[in-house]
């Protein structure tokens, strides 16, 4: 049946993701990681993985658990794995970061924490992939949207496997690789597949479907969307080849990275054109906060993809490349995620609270759950911080970066508070709130017992008639 119900643990994924984002921002303010440390130093790796896995991947996973079933009109497969997957992923990330901390000399612990953490992460992502792939393949035909997600999940698999391989090298257990050198040349490809493939490509695929809905825009024709997927897949295949090249005795250089990037950027250009068209052809004239707050994210993406290949080919310093990757990761992916979280959390909370009451009397609108314009001010602080922090990275000022990240932290903390207030229905007048025991819980949607309406199992086995 094309029924979609509320994903039980999506809010827990979002909560964990936001906690990791706040932690990463706090560490950046404390001066841990780049630019105070080198790009590939353990301190930076802690920060990068807190953002990439803790914040972006967990938020993406939570959103996919809710929206993949909705977008393919099939119930989520194996829903019982959602919570275990979350715990395993969190444990894996903490172990991995403890491993990096050991590598940095902050704590005394065996370096085997690194591959151990990677193993947990592999297991957690496998559980997640199992749920999503089974759900996607249960709907036939496989739609273009499903192909975006499946390709992204393939990239996640390669990213996690390559990361796990790196951890064996870093922990001194890379003997099985013989003379093959994977580090540091494999790092850009690992990052490209993770950010561009798993997080980027799926964000692109999901945004096509959700933006049509959120802005009441006409669905872009498949012939326009398909080149985006094909080009991105080609770029990601190049990145995969770059990762695998050392096994064939080939050393991929900057040109290889630039080639993969160039194809990805072409995909980004087509995607940007489509998103622009969606905004322009929308039937809903007033933009809601989630769509308004997505605009700076697309500007960050535009800047990042336009300048990154130039910076790589021109052998620009670490500062400029770091600034551009920062713009893509925290400006585009991070900003887009924060913006859509406001919509997703308010929509899901509304559905959980008011769907059973519809028809009995007036109910608030979804937008009524969000405090405006206050939420907009938090976004302004966040994006202001991102823009200034990127500039600080480009000109390599350590104190400037730390100060501007404080703006991001304040903006993020404000948005977290708003999301909690949405779950608590704080904006709704007390009389319009359901009784306390029926209100949404902060971290888990209420599990519902649903019986198919036409089916009375007992009476079939033992008919009275």
């Amino acid at each position: 049946m094309p029924m979609a119900s509320l994903s039980r643990w999506t809010m827990s994924y979002f909560a964990a993701a936001l906690a990791f984002l706040l932690a990463a921002e706090a560490l950046a303010i404390a001066g841990i990681g780049y630019p105070a440390a080198g790009l590939a130093e353990p301190a930076t790796l802690v920060l990068v993985h807190l953002v990439a896995i803790g914040w972006l991947s967990l938020a993406m996973a939570g959103a996919l658990l809710q929206f993949v079933p909705v977008l393919v009109s099939r119930p989520l497969a194996l829903p019982g794995l959602a919570l275990p997957a979350l715990f395993v992923l969190i444990a894996g990330l903490i172990l991995l970061c403890a491993g990096f901390a050991t590598l940095a000399g902050w704590i005394e612990a065996p370096l085997d924490l690194l591959p151990l953490g990677a193993g947990f992460l592999l297991a957690g992502f496998s559980l997640l992939g199992l749920m999503l792939v089974t759900t996607l393949l249960s709907a036939r035909p496989i739609t273009l949207f499903a192909r975006f997600v499946l390709t992204g999940l393939a990239c996640l698999a390669v990213t996690a496997l390559s990361g796990a391989t790196f951890t064996t090298l870093l922990s001194g257990r890379g003997g099985w690789l013989g003379t093959i050198t994977l580090l540091p040349d494999g790092l850009p490809f690992h990052a490209l597949l993770g950010l561009g493939g798993w997080l980027g490509l799926i964000a692109i695929g999901v945004s096509y479907r959700l933006f049509v809905m959120f802005m009441m825009a006409p669905e872009p024709p498949a012939r326009r969307v398909r080149p985006v997927l094909l080009l991105a897949s080609l770029g990601l295949a190049l990145a995969f080849a770059g990762l695998a090249a050392p096994f064939a005795g080939i050393e991929p250089g900057a040109v290889w990275i630039a080639a993969a990037l160039a194809v990805l950027i072409l995909a980004g250009v087509f995607y940007g054109r489509d998103i622009h068209a969606l905004y322009c052809t929308r039937r809903r004239k007033t933009l809601e906060i989630n769509m308004l707050a997505s605009i700076p994210a697309f500007v960050a993406l535009g800047l990042g993809v336009a300048l990154l290949p130039v910076a790589v080919l021109a052998h620009a310093g670490d500062g400029l490349i770091a600034a551009l990757v920062f713009l893509i990761a925290l400006g585009w992916l991070g900003g887009l995620t924060l913006a859509q979280l406001v919509k997703i959390v308010s929509f899901v909370t509304w559905l959980e609270t008011y769907a059973p009451r519809l028809g009995r009397g007036p109910v608030p609108r979804v937008g009524d759950l969000v405090a405006m314009p206050r939420t907009g001010w938090w976004f302004l602080l966040y994006y202001g911080g991102i823009a200034l922090a990127a500039a600080a990275l480009a000109i390599e000022t350590i104190d400037g970066f730390r100060a501007t990240m404080a703006l991001c932290l304040i903006g993020t903390a404000g948005l977290v508070a708003e999301l909690i207030r949405i779950r608590r229905l704080s904006q709704i007048k007390a009389v319009d709130r359901p009784p306390a025991h029926e209100r949404p819980r902060l971290l888990a949607a209420r599990a519902e017992e649903r019986r198919p309406v036409h089916v009375e199992a007992g009476s079939i086995a033992h008919p009275r008639a």
Binding site: P2, A4, E219, P356, R360, R450, P452, V453, H454, E456
Partner: protein, 180 residues
């Protein structure tokens, strides 16, 4: 009743399960799910499984039954041509929709943003009588509406129009109401 000609048939004998006190419903549904398009299911049971007929009718199968010599019953459930594949109804739709009367309410909800179409449909249903039919035109498949319809015992049938740009939904009031 005529039996389907030359269509492949799968068999399921639920007598052993019932003898051992097991509940055969899930096994029957699994067998139905495993049918290839056009395939029929021959069910053997120790009684005439009347309630199953409507369940199967909702899934697009007609039933033809006959008593066996030993007091048991044989029922052949055959897919009704045109009911599912050809009518192109979305999964979960009630095939009985072809027999529903004319809609008493018609809603054009194409220009509304989710969840507004769901709000309007459920509000309208609240003012209708059991058996009344509502027709709604939507911009997309209302996936969050379906569980709510099911909980209120309303039946529905829907599909996209030929161009794929509008979703047509029929809902037959089943007697349920807002439940909180």
């Amino acid at each position: 009743m005529s039996k389907p000609e030359a269509s492949p048939i799968r068999e399921l004998d639920v007598r052993p399960m019932l003898r051992s006190g097991e509940e055969p419903f899930q096994a029957i549904m699994d067998a139905v799910d495993a049918l290839a398009p056009g395939e029929s299911l021959r069910l053997v049971a120790p009684f005439r499984p009347v309630p199953l007929f409507s369940v199967m009718a909702n899934r697009g199968f007609s039933a033809s039954d006959r008593p066996l010599d030993d007091g048991d019953w044989e029922v052949v459930f055959s897919p009704v041509a045109g009911m599912q594949a050809d009518a192109g109804l979305a999964t979960g739709s009630s095939p009985a929709a072809v027999f529903w009367g004319d809609p008493v309410e018609e809603l054009d909800l194409v220009d509304l943003e989710p969840p507004e179409p769901m709000v309007r449909i459920l509000e309208t249903l609240e003012s209708m009588q059991p058996g009344d039919v509502l027709f709604a035109l939507l911009a997309r498949e209302p996936v969050f509406l379906f569980p709510e319809l099911a909980k209120r015992q309303h039946e529905w049938a829907g599909n996209f129009d030929a161009s794929g740009s509008a979703y047509r939904l029929l809902v037959r009031h089943g007697g349920g109401r807002a439940h909180v």
